[in-house]
Amino acid sequence: MILYEFEGKNLLKAAGVNIPNSQLLHSLEDRVTLVFPLVLKAQVLSGKRAEQGGIVFANNENELVDNLEMLFGKTVNKEVVEIILAEEKTEIEKEYYVSISYDTETRGPVLTISESGGTGIEERKANTYSINPLNLDIISDQNQLFGLPQELIAQLIKLFFDTDFLLLEINPLVKTKTGEWIALDAKIKLDDAATSRHEDWKYPPRLVAGYTPTEREILAKKIDEGDHRGTAGSTYFDLPGDIAVLASGGGGSLTAMDVLLKAGGKPANYTEYSGNPPKEKVEKLTEIVLSKPNLHGLWVVGAIANLTDIYETLSGFIEGLRNVRTKTGLKIDFPIVIRRAGPRDKEAFELLKKEIQDFDLHLYSTETSIAESAKIIAEKAKEYAKKEENVSVT
């Protein structure tokens, strides 16, 4: 989970890192008690706010009112500004960029420092140090730190590790004219896998930075809430195509989408379930996937499963399929291509043949590859679309 700047700064402050005097504003009515000049920062998740006009200054009361009016409700990189962080402006002597994250090359945490911060860090030369997770006090050579205080760096590393961050980026970390060290920004990403050991993580759910989610995307994300058995719908995207996709497995679902596009099929969504979820989860995800109008096909696809119980999960699929027809009145007479195999698949296929004779069902197992079944659904969906078109013309 990505934190908003103000949430990140609260964590820094609690760990003893200085941040500017600040106030969080939710509306024009909020009284500002800070000392001018001020910096007004739109609280959105995406980076590069300054370029989009999300960071403005106010030297007096009039500028403050004008700029707050301008900022509230403004769209910054597809996110609407609802919260503004007002801060007293800092007199900067020197700027630094500091980040701590995990690197797959060292397979551990790494610290990156660059001497001057600000925007455009991607192009600047930076020094990177590997941190040994078994011994966090590694940096002993002061020169390596470009004059950054060693205690401050140690503090940040400890905070990163103790609080299960995936990313801590301070850009810029500044030295003031009075010799103080202050974090002027904070980009923090928490490790969702560690949520259960941080009772204080009470952050409201949030969306992908710079992206407005659809209703189905929000609904799909809710399926896993409060139930840790397997996963279904934790990643869902609506796409512009006409073939609904109910895929299984992380790697399997990615492979399936790639081959469907290669076969000329147009997916209406991306999503997956995996890790042997209970049938209720598959049922809910099926309903969401099929709730889209103007579908011309459904592809239920996965690699040969190791652990996932095919009978259990496809039972959930059948329930979902039935529910959609009764609840929404949608005909669901388009082709349904299923390519699945794994534990209890024979029983599952018998159930499918028996239970859903009133759908245009096509069943495939290990004799047909994922790519071959992609061609079949792409072809059948096209035929169906053509038929629909003819019907609507006549």
Partner: protein, 300 residues
């Protein structure tokens, strides 16, 4: 060394839980020797003829020689279970748990190095060798011969499902498997692609390897680097999934914890490009893998 010998004996930590007790009979019926289970508080019980102990140390003292341990512990208890195994002197650990926090993953990797141990995972689907009748974890499910028959192709995969799918695809094309293993889809894999491929250089049974990669991280890029440097000499065939995600927002996790494009890092098209440039055969389509394998076997 990840290659366990024929007749290897292993322990199962947390094997009395739901996933462990589902997979235990699958391992036993394949001929795998699971000689003890560990679950604090359940010492003295017996599961499918397998004695359960309170601690790893106790299990080792009682059943004597053990080659390794498979972990069915929940994600939050995985780090302590790895520590317990390593401190008891075990040098081979396979972690099945998904959603192990990244911090714990980094500590596990550091501990593995410190103890000079082979740790596979987290989120590994398991390890199988059809000829040696080794099967650890859920890999191949209840009936592994559906996907895995003996042969000379190794499979190293980030995805559990796709490791079996590749086995099936090879089998349908008249090819068999030496070793198949899941490295897991986490950010930090204690054994990455290159670690396995380096060891397979010395494996007599393996003539070539297929790797299944996906978006995220740099483990695929490392293979390219080591092939280029001449450290990996046996031919490698690669399939990289997730190209379609490049049209969607970045910073989004697709399935596995490590499957995320961050900045310009982790893009499938880049991985394919550097692998190709290094001389790895990259399959454009999944169904091409077997043909590429046959091609490198002919030329090799």
């Amino acid at each position: 060394m990840f290659r366990l010998p024929k007749g290897a004996k292993i322990l199962g930590q947390g094997i009395t839980g739901y996933q462990g007790s589902t997979e235990l009979p699958w391992m036993l019926s394949y001929g795998m020797q699971v000689v003890g289970g560990v679950r604090p508080g359940k010492g003295g019980e017996v599961l499918l003829g397998v004695p359960i102990f309170d601690t790893v140390k106790e299990a080792i003292e009682t059943v004597d020689l053990v080659d390794g341990t498979v972990l069915y512990t929940p994600p939050m208890h995985t780090l302590s279970a790895v520590k317990e195994a390593l401190e008891a002197g075990l040098k081979w650990v396979l972690i099945t748990a998904e959603k192990v926090p990244t911090k714990d993953g980094s500590i596990i990797y550091a501990l593995a190095k410190e103890h000079n141990a082979c740790v596979i995972g987290p989120s590994s689907v398991g390890l199988i060798n059809p000829q040696l009748k080794i099967k650890i974890g859920s890999i191949g499910g209840s009936d592994p011969s559906r996907a895995f028959v003996p042969g000379e192709v190794a499979i190293v995969s980030k995805s559990g499902g796709m490791s079996s799918e590749i086995g099936l695809h090879l089998k349908n094309n008249g090819l068999g498997v030496s070793w198949a293993v899941g490295i897991g889809g986490d950010r930090i894999a204690s054994m990455d692609f290159a670690d396995f491929l380096m060891e397979l250089e010395e494996d007599d049974q393996t003539k070539t390897s297929v790797i299944f990669g996906e978006l995220g991280g740099t483990y695929e890029e490392k293979v390219a680097e080591m092939v280029r440097a001449g450290k990996i000499k046996k031919p490698v065939v690669a399939f990289i999934a997730g190209e379609f995600t490049q049209t969607l927002p970045s910073e989004v996790q697709f399935g596995h914890a490590g499957a995320i494009i961050e900045g310009n890092r982790g893009r499938p098209d880049y991985k394919r490009q550097v692998l190709k440039e290094a001389g790895v055969k990259v399959a454009e389509n999944f169904d091409e893998i077997a043909n590429l394998v046959k091609e490198v076997l002919r030329n090799g």
